[in-house]
């Protein structure tokens, strides 16, 4: 279970991790600037296992993998949004960072609600409101990639012929 940080539509990669910090790719350092330009207190208050819930087109903008990486490293368990920008979506899967699309959950869940997710079924439970929402679970191919903690291990496993 984790608490929810809630944001609106079109949260772009420039606010998730502003370009002025991109001269580093140290995950910890990036995490310390996560969401800097949309929520200055995020990086100092987020705890391991927390969630981000947002509207549509989350992660739009640049291809910087620094964006999902800084959120993952900051301790975010999963981002739930009405929809994701596609490069952010790919990058998240590739680094084994779960993200779920669910329009109803995106609308209904509020800041500071306590929620949990069952990744196999795609069911999101809102413990504060006593409600559940059904998100689309990942297709098996992607589930395997997330299980292996990303594309690198997937490629390595494939090279080994597994």
């Amino acid at each position: 279970m984790g608490k929810v940080y809630k944001y609106g539509d079109n949260v772009d990669t420039d606010v998730i991790i502003p370009a002025r910090y991109l001269n580093s790719f140290d995950a910890q350092e990036l995490a310390s600037h996560a969401m800097a330009d949309i929520d200055a207190s995020f990086a100092s208050t987020v705890e391991k296992g927390d969630f981000i819930v947002a509207g549509k087109n989350f992660g739009c903008g640049s291809s910087r993998e620094h964006a999902p990486l800084c959120l993952k490293t900051a301790g975010v368990q999963c981002v739930i949004a009405a929809s994701f920008a596609r490069i952010f979506y790919r990058n998240s899967i590739n680094i084994g960072f779960p993200i779920l699309e669910c329009e109803v959950a995106s609308k209904d869940i509020e800041a500071n609600d306590n929620i949990s997710v069952d990744y196999d079924t795609g069911i999101i439970t809102n413990h504060t409101k006593n409600k559940t929402y059904q998100a689309q679970p990942f297709p098996p191919f992607l589930q395997k990639m997330i299980e292996l903690d990303g594309l690198v291990n997937y490629v390595k496993a494939k090279k080994r012929g597994q």
Binding site: N10, L22, G61, E65, R86, R90, K159
Partner: protein, 424 residues
């Protein structure tokens, strides 16, 4: 059921006769590109998978974002990819003095051609779709994988077809067309999809116009933007490249989720207001508003730093002076364009009118250097993103526009209509 242009290219590279939207495939890559921000981050990931790149010609590294190095960390990042390129004997690494902004550089150097499958660790990799290639931006792990094994997973996209007709009026260019389209469908209007541009209107768009349009497909959320190949495309490819190319046309019965007709002749100069590229207003709407006074103008970037863009801006600035309250930063996108500006006398026009004229770089576009905005400042920029804080302080404002609108605004000191500038 038939396939779209994008689907045909993906099918070919996956070794399949047919693919459908939503299908997951693994496909072979023709070009894998990264820059000084995404490249260094990819190297440790690459090393986990391989010692050698899959092909020394197909892996391309371009230090352009924070280059010439803006600080010590950026210098270190550039050093990392420089050393890697030399060690791996990469044919296509471009040092300062050779380089340009990647998305202007690769077509110019003939590295990308029609029919190819290209990935770049930069979202504006979609630019090469102007040449009839399937080209898309990816992240660091994807690029490291591409460099190591030369193939990658893709989800086959659905598509929207844009049927272009008519001819753009004077002072209307590719930038206005794409800003108009993004305002029409929204910044997630083409999410996960291909934007395919066809129709008899294409012939009235120059290659530079098409690069600008394909460049901003990502700003509508698209996976790729692609133009049907015509004589102009083939002429461009033959002038710039020795590579063989392949032309893919959509099947007659290809499935498109949406078909949108665009009359190029009806498009007005368009300005995207802060903080989304989809907040477009026509210049007439802008003129009906209170004047928007500006502090800075940027003319350059992978969207509008090509020779035609600079010619258009110079034609407006010629004989005029930049407003004393405005800083104007001109950045040609590549060394070749830089030299063209010198030879054609454009540099002289820019400098005489009070603009700075800079070495090729992404520079101010992503708030890196060479023109970062202070709190409260307003900038008219020919770049592609006007997100909060994109070019500097979170309280600065970016208005996206064509080179002509940018040049007219530089003279006026507020967002201005190029039609009203006296030609001297």
């Amino acid at each position: 059921m038939g396939m779209t242009m994008s689907q045909k290219i993906l099918a070919k590279h996956a070794g399949l006769d047919k693919v459908v939207a939503g299908q997951l495939i693994e496909a072979k890559l023709d070009v894998v590109m990264a820059n000084d921000i995404t490249g260094p981050m990819a190297l440790p990931i690459f090393k986990q998978m391989a010692d050698k790149v899959f092909d020394t010609e197909k892996v391309v590294l371009v230090p352009d974002h924070f280059m010439p190095a803006k600080d010590i960390k950026s210098a270190q990042n550039a050093k990392d990819i420089r050393e890697f390129s030399h060690k791996q004997c990469l044919k296509n690494y471009f040092e300062i003095g050779q380089m340009g902004i990647e998305h202007a550089l690769l077509p110019e150097k003939g590295i990308v051609v029609a029919g190819e499958l290209i990935i770049g660790a930069d979202s504006h990799t979609c630019t090469y779709g102007a040449l009839g290639a399937f080209s898309t931006g990816v992240g660091t792990t994807d690029i490291a994988t591409g460099m190591a094994v030369g193939e990658l997973w893709f989800k086959v996209p659905a598509a929207i077809k844009f049927v272009l007709s008519g001819k753009p009026k004077k002072f209307v260019s590719g930038k206005d067309v794409i800003l108009h389209i993004i305002s029409l469908i929204g910044v997630d209007g083409a999410l996960y999809k291909s934007m395919e541009f066809v129709g008899e209107g294409i012939k009235n768009l120059s290659m530079d116009d098409r690069f600008t349009i394909a460049n901003m497909a990502i700003e509508a959320g698209a996976k790729n933007g692609i133009f049907e190949v015509d004589d102009q495309t083939i002429d461009y490819i033959q002038k710039h490249s020795k590579k063989s190319y392949e032309v893919f046309k959509a099947d007659e019965d290809a499935i498109y989720e949406q078909v949108i007709e665009i009359d190029l002749g009806a498009i007005r100069p368009t300005v995207a207001f802060p903080h989304l590229p989809g907040n477009g207003k026509t210049i007439d709407e802008v003129e009906a508003m209170e004047k928007i006074e500006i502090d800075q103008v940027v003319i350059g970037s992978c969207t509008n730093g090509r020779i035609e863009d600079l010619r258009k801006a110079a034609a407006i600035l010629k004989g005029h002076q930049v407003n004393p309250n405005v800083r104007v930063i001109v950045v040609p996108a590549t060394q070749k364009i830089y030299l063209q500006c010198v030879m054609e006398g454009l540099t002289e026009i820019f400098v005489n009118s009070g603009c700075t004229f800079n070495t090729p770089s992404c520079g101010p576009c992503m708030g890196g250097h060479m023109g970062v905005l202070a709190a409260g400042e307003k900038c008219v920029s020919t770049t592609n993103r006007n997100f909060v804080g994109r070019m500097g302080h979170v309280d600065s404002m970016i208005y996206l526009a064509s080179p002509e609108v940018a040049a007219a605004s530089a003279i006026a000191g507020y967002i201005a209509n190029p039609e009203k500038v006296e030609v001297i």
